[in-house]
Structure formats: structure tokens, C-alpha cells
């Protein structure tokens, strides 16, 4: 589903009343107006992200349903082993990588601002930093998954293993897609194909990137911060 978001800068069929040869290829550019005043591309990414809310919402709801259940079931003698999330988590470490992910939203904003000013060199610096911060977050996640795996946590470890790995894994997949998206923008800028007039392409990628960050704030709170029963 995520890959489709990258399609947003597709054609906006000539809705320009005809006669304007060559105009209206790029949905948003060339200054022709839409009924809402919001460009097609931007409206599409908002619609897509609203759909994604329900996608992550379903996984967060699943997590909340099963939160702490393994421990309770073990106490009741219904299952043999249960991992205690609070003993697995290294909250200072995950807080650090989460902070880095949030800071990547700041660099994303700076990248967009730089491109809108026409400063393509700074744009590339900021967009590369954003991708790098995202990559740092993903590395942190890989490290964390490896550590949990070594401590014995599996996809099949009760409901905690299942919900934790699948939800955070899908979020990580979204961040990864975002990193590729950012790198493709970097590449286009290097080729000189991403001037200030194309700033909206960056803005759309930014909306996706901020969305993925916000989802992480929710997941981080629900999974790591809210205390578990002993």
C-alpha cells in the first residue's frame, strides 16, 4: 500500500479548459487552479494518509487488546511462559532513536524551506540528513530486534511477540519506504531536476514522513512508555 504513495506526482489530466498545449502535466504545477485550491497531489496524499491511520489504528488496537495479557495468562496458569516487556525494553536506548526520528521531521521541514528559497545545495544537505536520521532509527530497530531475539523473544512468543514484532516491523517498513523516497528526491536534485518549482514533490514526501513520525509517537507511547502491570 505504501509504495502507491510515491505515485502521487502523476498526471493531472489537462483540466485547463483546453487549448493550453503542454500544460497540466504535473497535477499541481503550471499554476492552474483546482476547485479546492489544494493541488491534486497534495489532496491525494492526505487521502492516502487518512487511510493509513486506520491501518496502523488496527494494529495499535490489536496491541492494546493483548497488552499485558501474556503475564496475566501465565499467572492464571493458562500459558507456560510469558515475556515481561518491561524487562526486555531498554527505554533510554529506544528514547534516543525515537528522538532522532523526531528530529528528522525538523530536518525535513528545513529541506523543504531550503528548496522553496531556491537553495538547492542546502536542500540536499537537509534531505540527506533526514534520510540518515531515518536510517539511524531503522538501525536502532534492527539492533533492538536482534537483542530481543537473542533473549528468546519470537514472533510466536505469546501475543506480545506477535503484536510487538508485526506492528513495529510494519512501521519500520514504512520508514524504509520513506528513506528510499527521500533518496530518490536527493538523486533528482543532483540531476538538477528538482528546482523550487517542484517544491511540492518534497512537501508531499514530507507529509508522508511526518505521518510516519507521528505514528511512531503513538506506538512508542503505547508500547514503551505506559507502564505494564508487574
Amino acid at each position: 500500500m505504501t509504495a502507491v504513495a510515491e505515485e502521487a506526482p502523476a498526471l493531472g489530466a489537462g483540466h485547463d479548459g483546453g487549448g493550453h498545449d503542454g500544460a497540466g502535466h504535473d497535477g499541481s504545477d503550471h499554476g492552474h487552479t483546482t476547485n479546492t485550491g489544494v493541488s491534486n497531489t497534495k489532496l491525494a496524499i492526505w487521502a492516502f494518509l487518512s487511510s493509513e491511520c486506520l491501518f496502523f489504528g488496527s494494529f495499535i488496537a490489536s496491541y492494546l487488546l493483548y497488552r499485558g495479557r501474556d503475564t496475566n495468562f501465565q499467572k492464571a496458569g493458562l500459558i507456560k511462559t510469558a515475556f515481561k516487556p518491561q524487562e526486555l525494553f531498554n527505554i533510554p536506548f529506544t528514547s534516543a532513536t525515537s528522538f532522532i526520528l523526531l528530529m528528522s521531521s525538523l530536518t525535513m521541514v528545513l529541506a523543504l524551506a531550503a528548496l522553496q528559497r531556491g537553495d538547492e545545495r542546502r536542500f540536499r544537505i537537509w534531505i540527506a540528513s533526514t534520510a540518515l536520521f531515518g536510517l539511524t532509527f531503522i538501525s536502532g530497530q534492527v539492533f533492538e530486534f536482534t537483542e530481543f531475539y537473542q533473549k528468546g523473544l519470537r514472533l510466536s512468543s505469546g501475543t506480545f511477540g506477535s503484536t510487538f514484532f508485526v506492528m513495529t516491523g510494519l512501521h519500520g517498513a514504512h520508514v524504509t519506504v520513506g528513506i528510499f523516497w527521500l533518496l530518490s528526491l536527493y538523486q533528482r536534485s543532483l540531476q538538477g531536476k528538482l528546482g523550487p518549482e517542484k517544491a511540492e514533490a518534497v512537501e508531499v514526501a514530507g507529509l508522508y514522513w511526518h505521518f510516519v513520525d507521528i505514528v511512531w509517537i503513538l506506538i512508542f507511547t503505547v508500547v514503551y512508555l505506559v507502564p505494564y502491570h508487574k
Partner: protein, 634 residues
């Protein structure tokens, strides 16, 4: 599309990733991004799947012809009823709605195409490949067999110690995730098109009701598909990676699946029926020569259905024992949703009442829709009452109910739409004589098939069961149902014969054959590639009608001499100056990656998954860097 100058072709070698140029001939259908052609492709493909789903239904009915039938084994029966439901919902109902939406929405709002023509093309190919992927499961002897609803833990238990000894549920989960991707892309496209690309003066409340209903189903699609996608991922993980989402032995909760599924499944019902409501809201005014009675109220009722539709899903789950507070709340919401639905029915009746009714085939189907849908709606309200629901749960009464809503509702409306818009799409009429045979056979066959199901259902005949014992008094009614099913099949056959015969006879249709009210009738039939020579300016609801007619002092209709049509202008100009986006190969390549990965996921062959992803990425990259137009020739 402009014809390419030969000199330009010779002088410049075609660049790498050049876009295709052909806009006619059979090969052009593979690269087209024209919303009208894509709409027709959606329709044609959905009709083929309708035949497949219909054959499955006929086999089911043959098996139930007599008690203890032996035509099908229980295992085959499970595959057939699962694929029948899955096909009719995902490969027939939803694509037919997208077919009409694709063809009509840009024409009705005065646009040249949808907002994202290549994403539109992607949606079609994902649908086609997803459908083929699902049906290919028969070749592996692994057709889905856990019902179209795929309840856990039946479907989610791993293959090794599962209840369903085949890869059917994997095909089902992966296939539906794939089709969901296609649906979400078309939903986004419709929303952006409708919000952003309306002609000047086409305010939201001046939009035709069909466009409104398409907008509402696009919103519903956007929010309903993600929960089921999440649930299907969980089912797939449970089966293949040993997760415990629905494994009660490890603390999982199978009920979670039902909530996620029906949180999708009930809005899905409205995704299926609202396009039908949109179609009859267009045909009834035209064939009654009256404006749609309370058009704004019809729109508002549609919006109300769209909202309340999110608060009724538990009525599918009363038998799970969620407690009185929950079931009461959802019961009340289910009764409440009948109100806007009933309002619409009265609006349609008010439209026909006192009108100069023309009983064309399209009108017959629309009237049939009102009658059949009302019956289905009434048995639906019965289901909202919790104790009575518990009695009817999992019986043929429920089967009767939702076939009255979806077959009597949606399918009748779709046929009405076919007969109404066929001249616009293909430039010739469908035969009215055969159309009436088509209608009466369908009407009789439909009622003969599904009405007795109410009775056997109330007598306790269980659904989803491959046979029944003798001596319950169900024999005669089941035989009636089987005869009815074959009459339905005959009726669909008449429709196909009509399509072919009418094409040969070629009874040429003018631009405005029915004296229509909406913008698509102001342009020639069939519609030129660029749709509108001049983007129209809209001044009121039913604008085209008001351009044709005015009223004299006594309130009688008087036809204006100019007639309002711009069909004449099209003879003056061939529209070759209008720039249209070029066709493309890459959305299809992108879509092709999905089923390749899909087989990899089903058979746990990660190399194949990688190949699929590589194909997808290749298609995507080429898509993003291909030039905007075929040739730099202007």
C-alpha cells in the same frame, strides 16, 4: 490524441522509455489511460468474473437440488461457496461500481479525465491480476475454502496442524490484500477527481447524485479497507510465521478478527449498494421526466448512511455473546440506518409519482431495484432485533436477505445502468425487445431463487452447509431455488446475446437519446477521447436539462430552440488541439509485480517475492522517469 507527424518519427529515434502512442486497435487497451476505456475494461472484466461466480452458484444449487446430494463433495462445496462470495463482492460488485464511476464521473462533472490517469490504469491491472491470482488457486487445488468472511481460527491455524488442509486461506488473504491496494488507489483517485476537477459552477450540491454516491463509496473504501488488510496480514502471519493473533491456546482472541473484518465488512455493504442508489437516482428522473424528488435529501441520506454505516458492524456478531449493552447499541444503530435508506426509497417513489413514465428496459430495472431492495431492506431491519437475529443467524434467511439487497439491489441497478449508458459508451442502443426479456427473466428467476430462502431459513435450514437431510419439508423449495438460479443464468445469457446482436445491428444512438439531464448527454455518443470540446459552465442542478427546456407562464415545459447540446460544435472541430496525456506501459508492469510476489508469499518462496518486488520497482521507476508526453513534437 494528435496524430504523429511521420517526419518527426523518422528524424528523432524514439528515446528510451518513450511512451506508447497508439490510441486505437486492440493493443491500445493494454496501455490506455483514458478513463472511459478503463471504465469499460473494469466492466467487461467484472462481467467475466460474474459468469465465473454464477457458475459456482449454479453448481451449489445443483448440489442442493435434493437432500443428501452427491454432485459435490463437502470440500469442493466449501471452495465453491467461498469463491462465489469472494468473487461477487471483490471481483464483481466493487469493480462494477468502479466501472461506472470511472466512465461517468469525469463526464458528469465536466472534466477531461480523472485526477491521476496512470494510477487509474494501475487500479485496473491490479484488479485483473488479483482476480486471476485468486482464480489460479484452483489450478493448485487450493481454492480458498474458509468462506468469504474467512473466520479465524478456521483460516488462521497453520497448514501443518490446520483445519483447512490446503493453501486456500493463503491465496485468499494475499489475493484480498492485493485487491485492496487496487481499491484504495481508485478511492483516492475518485476523491481527488470529484473534489478538485469539477467544471466551473459545478458546486458540490449541483453534482449529479451518482457522483455524490461515488464520492461516498470512495471515502468508505479508503477507511474500510485498512482494517481488513490488517486482519488479513494477521491471518497470514498466524498461518505462516506462528504468530498468535488468533490462537486462543496462546492468549490470542479469534473475536478480534471478527471485529476487524466486520469493521470493513459492513461499510463494504454500503460500498456495494450506494453505486446502485446513484444509478437509479439518474435513471428514474429521466424516464419519469421529472427532477429527482428532494435531490439534496437523497444526497444527505447517502452521507448519513455513510456515517452510520460505521456503527452497525456488530449486528453480524450478535451470536458471539458480546453482552446486552453492546448488542443494544448496535441494534439501535442498525434500526437508525434504515431511516435514511427509507427516505431515499420515498424520494424515488416521489420522483416516479405523477411523472410521464417511459417503461424502457432501464426503467424496468430501476423499478425492479426499488421493489427488490425494499424487500431486502425490510428483512434487514428484522436482523437488527437481537433475539430474532439469534434465531435467524447462519440460516438461509440471511442468505435471502443479502441477496435481495445486493442482487435485487445492486445487480438490478447495474443492468439499469447498462441499458441507460450503453448508447453513450458504444454509440449504439441495446435491443429493447431483448432487454425486456432480460429483465423479466431476471425478475422471475431472482424471486424464484431467493424468496423461498426466507421460508427454508425460518424453518432452520443452515447456510454454508453442503447438504441437508430429507424429511424437513425443504425439498420442493430447494428445487424451486435451483430452477430459479438457472432462469437467472438464462437471463444473463440473453444479456450477452443482446450485447453481441446489438453491436451487429448497430442501431446508432444520438448524443442525447433519452432526453437526459446530466452533462454526459451534452457530448457526442460515443464520447470522443477529450470528452468536452469546451469545458462546460454549470449554473444549476440538472444543468443540461435547463439548457434544453424552460417553462412558460403556466409552468409547462417548453423546449428551447438551441437545444443546449454542444454536439454540433464537435463537427466543427476535431479536438486535435486538445492535449491529452499519453498512454503508458508502466502501471501494468508495476501491477504485474504484485501477483508474482503473491505466489512467493503463498508458497513461502522468498526468491519469488524478491522477483515480484524487483518487477514492481522497475515498473515504478520507469513510471516516474518516463516523459510526460509521447513526443516533443509541439
Amino acid at each position: 490524441m494528435t496524430t504523429v507527424e511521420h517526419s518527426a518519427v523518422i528524424a528523432q529515434p524514439r528515446p528510451l522509455l518513450a511512451r506508447p502512442t497508439k490510441t486505437s486497435g486492440w493493443t491500445s487497451w493494454f496501455t490506455t489511460i483514458d478513463h472511459k476505456k478503463i471504465g469499460i475494461m473494469y466492466g467487461a472484466t467484472a462481467l467475466i468474473f460474474l459468469v465465473a461466480g454464477g457458475i459456482e452458484a449454479l453448481l451449489i444449487r445443483l448440489q442442493l437440488w435434493r437432500p443428501n446430494g452427491t454432485i459435490l463433495t463437502a470440500a469442493t462445496y466449501n471452495q465453491l461457496f467461498t469463491m462465489h462470495g469472494t468473487t461477487m463482492v471483490f471481483l464483481v460488485g466493487m469493480p462494477l461500481a468502479v466501472a461506472f464511476g470511472n466512465f461517468l464521473v469525469p463526464l458528469m462533472i465536466g472534466a477531461r479525465d480523472v485526477a491521476f490517469p496512470r494510477i487509474n490504469m494501475l487500479g485496473y491491472w491490479v484488479f485483473l491480476f488479483g482476480g486471476i491470482f485468486l482464480y489460479s488457486s484452483f489450478l493448485f487445488g487450493s481454492a480458498p475454502n474458509g468462506g468469504w468472511f474467512g473466520y479465524t481460527p478456521l483460516t488462521s491455524t497453520p497448514l501443518a496442524h490446520g483445519f483447512l488442509p490446503s493453501r486456500g486461506p493463503d491465496f485468499w488473504a494475499v489475493g484480498l490484500i492485493m485487491l485492496g491496494i487496487g481499491s484504495v488507489t481508485s478511492g483516492v483517485n475518485f476523491i481527488v477527481t470529484i473534489l478538485n476537477m469539477r467544471a466551473p459552477g459545478m458546486t458540490l450540491l449541483r453534482m449529479p447524485v451518482f457522483v455524490w454516491m461515488t464520492f461516498i463509496i470512495a471515502m468508505l473504501t479508503l477507511f474500510a479497507l485498512p482494517p481488513v488488510t490488517a486482519a488479513l496480514i494477521q491471518v497470514y502471519m498466524d498461518r505462516n510465521f506462528g504468530t498468535n493473533f488468533f490462537n486462543a491456546a496462546q492468549g490470542g482472541d479469534p473475536l478480534l478478527y471478527q471485529h476487524l473484518f466486520w469493521l470493513f465488512g459492513h461499510p463494504e455493504v454500503y460500498i456495494l449498494i450506494l453505486p446502485g442508489m446513484g444509478i437509479v437516482s439518474e435513471t428514474l428522473p429521466v424516464f419519469s421526466r421529472k427532477p429527482l424528488f428532494g435531490a439534496r435529501v437523497v444526497v444527505m441520506s447517502g452521507i448519513a448512511i455513510g456515517f452510520v454505516g460505521w456503527g452497525v458492524w456488530v449486528h453480524h456478531m450478535y451470536a458471539t455473546g458480546l453482552g446486552p449493552a453492546t448488542t443494544t447499541g448496535f441494534g439501535i444503530a442498525t434500526m437508525a440506518i434504515a431511516v435514511p435508506t427509507g427516505v431515499k426509497i420515498f424520494n424515488w417513489l416521489g420522483t416516479v409519482w405523477g411523472g410521464a413514465v417511459r417503461l424502457t428496459t432501464s426503467m424496468l430495472f430501476s423499478l425492479g431495484f426499488i421493489a427488490m431492495f425494499t424487500l431486502g431492506g425490510l428483512s434487514g431491519v428484522m436482523h437488527s432485533i437481537v433475539p430474532s437475529n439469534a434465531q435467524q443467524h447462519d440460516t438461509y434467511f440471511v442468505v435471502a436477505h443479502f441477496h435481495y439487497v445486493l442482487f435485487g439491489g445492486l445487480v438490478f441497478a447495474i443492468f439499469s445502468g447498462f441499458y441507460y449508458w450503453w448508447p453513450k459508451a458504444f454509440g449504439h442502443f441495446l435491443s429493447e425487445k431483448m432487454g425486456k426479456i432480460n429483465f423479466w427473466l431476471l425478475f422471475i428467476g431472482f424471486n424464484l431463487t431467493f424468496f423461498p430462502m426466507h421460508i427454508v431459513g425460518l424453518q432452520g435450514m443452515p447456510r454454508r452447509t453442503y447438504t441437508y437431510g430429507a424429511g424437513h419439508g425443504w425439498e420442493l423449495l430447494n428445487q424451486m431455488e435451483t430452477v430459479g438460479a438457472f432462469i437467472i443464468a438464462l437471463s444473463v445469457l440473453v444479456f450477452f446475446v443482446n450485447v453481441i446482436a446489438s453491436r451487429i445491428r448497430n442501431d446508432v444512438a444520438p448524443a442525447d437519446p433519452w432526453d437526459g439531464r446530466t452533462l454526459e448527454w451534452s457530448i457526442p455518443s460515443p464520447v470522443p477521447a477529450y470528452n468536452f470540446l469546451e469545458i462546460p459552465e454549470v449554473h444549476e442542478f440538472d444543468d443540461f436539462w435547463h439548457k434544453k427546456y424552460t417553462e412558460d407562464e403556466e409552468g409547462r415545459l417548453v423546449r428551447l430552440p438551441s437545444g443546449g447540446s454542444d454536439a454540433g460544435q464537435h463537427e466543427v472541430s476535431d479536438g486535435s488541439h486538445i492535449h491529452l496525456p499519453s498512454p503508458s506501459y508502466w502501471p501494468m508492469v508495476f501491477a504485474l509485480g504484485l501477483p508474482i510476489s503473491g505466489y512467493g508469499f503463498v508458497f513461502k518462496n522468498w526468491l519469488l517475492v524478491g522477483v515480484g518486488v524487483a518487477v514492481l520497482m522497475f515498473g515504478l521507476t520507469a513510471w516516474l522517469i518516463e516523459p510526460d508526453t509521447a513526443h516533443e513534437d509541439h
